[in-house]
Amino acid sequence: MTTTEAGVAGETRVLLCECAGTMAANVDFDLLEREIAAGCGAVERRRVWCGAEGRARLTELAERRSDERLVFVGCSPDSAGQRFRQLISQGLELEVADVREGCSWVHGDDRAAVTDKAVRIARAAVHFPVARREPAAPRARVDSVVVVGGGVAGIAAATELARLGHHVDLVERQSFLGGYATRIGPAYPTNDCGACLPAVEEQSGVRRCLYRNAALDHPDLAVWRRTEVESVSGDPGDYEVTLRQLPNMVTSDCVDCGLCEKVCPVTGPAGDHRAIYSELFDGRVRWAVDLESCTFCGACAEACPVEAIDFTQSPSLTRRRAGAIVAATGCDPAPAGLVAHLGYPSERVLTQVELALLLDDWEERLWLDQPPVADVVIVQCAGSRDLRRLPYCSRLCCTIALKHAIRLRKLFPATRVTVCYLELRTLGAEGESWYTAARLAGVEFLRGSVPAVELDADGRPVLEVEDLGAGRKRVFRPDLVVLSTGFVPAADTPRLAGMLGLRLDEAGFVAVLDAKNRATETSAEGVFVCGSASGPKSLVECSTEAAAIAGQVHAYLTSTARRRETAPSVDAARCIGCDVCTDACPFGATRLVARSPDAARPDGLRADALLAAIDEKVCRACGICAAHCPELAITPSLGDETLLGRVRTLVEGADHPVVGFVCAECAGAAFSLSGLRRDRYPENVRLVELPCLGRVSALHLVAAARLGAAGIFLAGCAEGRCQYRRGDESAAEQLAVAAELLGETDHPVPIELWSLCAAERHTVGRRLRLFAAHAEKDATARTPVGVAAVAGGRGEAS
């Protein structure tokens, strides 16, 4: 081990690792140490740094807390991060220069060339530091959650969160909790009611109806009926949610006698209930006044034996602070317009939701002589999987239709039930058993789609269906047509998304952060999505998701802000206040603010020009804004100078170098795994690691070509999988600009964009070998024998 002098503030200390001699074959460590020592404060060389002694020394260095910068020259950032994970989590700041997976292990026996590359890699890291600012002190998040939507998903998430010890505000727009699932009778898959919640410990049994469930009485759970979210402000971890509540008029003194409904002289707008009505008992308040139809005559208040009706209540605005927000706004059945071609709405054409309510009604009555319907046709995919209407499959309609078909046959064995379908999507063993049960119950299945439903003179529906099984046309004149319509996002979803800054998917549902492994998080930090708000979901999925969300929100609220990235800085002397960065930022972290009169400003700017400002709390430091800024006013932690300096150090004077800009995320993993496999490629490939490929601007590509790169490639994450959402898109744009410019010069350089994920580690070596060979061939062809290339490949001025 070699050690020179003690730590000096502001200096760089290089920790050189020989990796137990695994690199000795092609790297001359004595030369490497000498070359590094020439430009930094101190070099410590060890046979292994990840052994007990090395770790002890690192602990010592970390505890010294001087301003000294530590650069580790050895394995890849991935490997080093893994080996020193504990130290890093304790606050050790280590920059890594990869001479193992990115150099020694992947190259041949040309000792001089490999050592030269290792020296350049080390120098690039030592001489061109990444700017770091002290991360802001972690803030505790507000220990309170607002759950928007009181359907089964919202209730389950809210009760679970209250049980975990957080304050929860459950906001429901309607007077009664429960949503669709509790209003449609028996539900898939258990064929009983949808209002079950897991029983709390002090209650017996495993589940309880939500109105009997003590979980809803939790002291930390506040239920807001008839309440909508008016506005949301604040930052992730500390939102302020303004709630607008309409009064229920019936107080909790109500004893459920129902006298009020008997005396009410007004009928509600739909004609199915009085102005004071009871819809669904969710265990707390049973009666509600419909404010739109109520004439405030006071008859009910007079009749009420316990004076539970209070007309002095008025709408109120309340502000609640929330560390996290759960959007559980659910979905609605497709609107009538989408199934107008199927004769809807009409007395004899219903949707499945309407049939569910009707079945409950029918079950209530006794049909001794004649069933209400003799012939029912159920039309699957009504308006769904149709590019002109709902292009997607809602997944639930098939099972709902089977459930209703079975229920119809069981209630009225004489009724003929036919299901017209193209595909039945009842997934899993359980779904198949519903299909079998329907066949056993005597439901007829007919394969063929229904193009239109017409009504004849008596109002009886007429359908012409092409029976694909029998190969002929069939005509039905049923008593009732039931449409299995798809589901669309709840009507208020766009408004809520606008307030919370959520992205919506093509169909208008809340888009999740990552469909594979962050399916309950949204594009806004601290906002989670639960249940059908992110796409139609069954009760099983809703309750599973609710439990998952409770755990996630709990983890989110109990941890402090964990971000360590350094947000870019904006140079007021250069920023012209155009909207390029606000347009480019995938997270909405940049916005334009008024310029203070004494701030520096570029020439020629108008008096009220704006200034870009980057919100550190939202910024993820991808660098996309910096790559696009037309005036180079934005400097990220990996600034242009550092980046170009690193490229220059790596390539200048090299023989036909190939420059690769590699994203540290998925592509970085592919490269370091390829290095661990020791997949060989030529030494002239020089890699520059970036936090995200979005950091690359046309400037860097053009400059690399100017510095003598014979070929340039960009390696980013798999297509559409950029962790910063638009990094690959931005890199492709910049690449197009650079390629066009370079193509017009007399110095065209092959330039490519690769999308790699860790699974493609096998292809990295092959890609590099092919690309390097191709670039070298091109470069040789450009430089005819006899005409020496100018150093660094520059075109000479005339």
Partner: protein, 150 residues
Amino acid sequence: MPLTARGRLILGSLPGVVPSTTTDGIGCVIVRHERLCIGCGRCVQVCPSAALAESSRFDPLQLYEAPAGTTRGALAVALRRIARHEPAGSFEVPSRVRTFRTIEFDKARCLGCGACTRACPTGALTARPVELCEAGGPAVPADGGSPVRR
């Protein structure tokens, strides 16, 4: 100069002979399509260098000459129908009138950032690739890049 600072640096960094025309990714010449402009003034609001301005005067004759089939042309037809006599010439517009103002574009002040093209609701402003001959050639960067060959 409608070439942004970044554009100048990129052109200065190009190896070999610099092309005479180039892409719009590095700055752009703003082209106004008079016949599509509805004079809403959004471009004026976003322009950082006040290269675009709302004129305080309005010339109805200019509107009369707008080609039929465009928004302005349709307005011209309507105006002709209701106007009792031919307009005498340009007149001062009251400050409360917010639309159908004439937009003036000062090319010399334009920075080429393209903010106006993104703000324009009718696509009356587009960004064209920079023509270097017009732009006067890129500046030589401080690190001693190659001078531009024309």
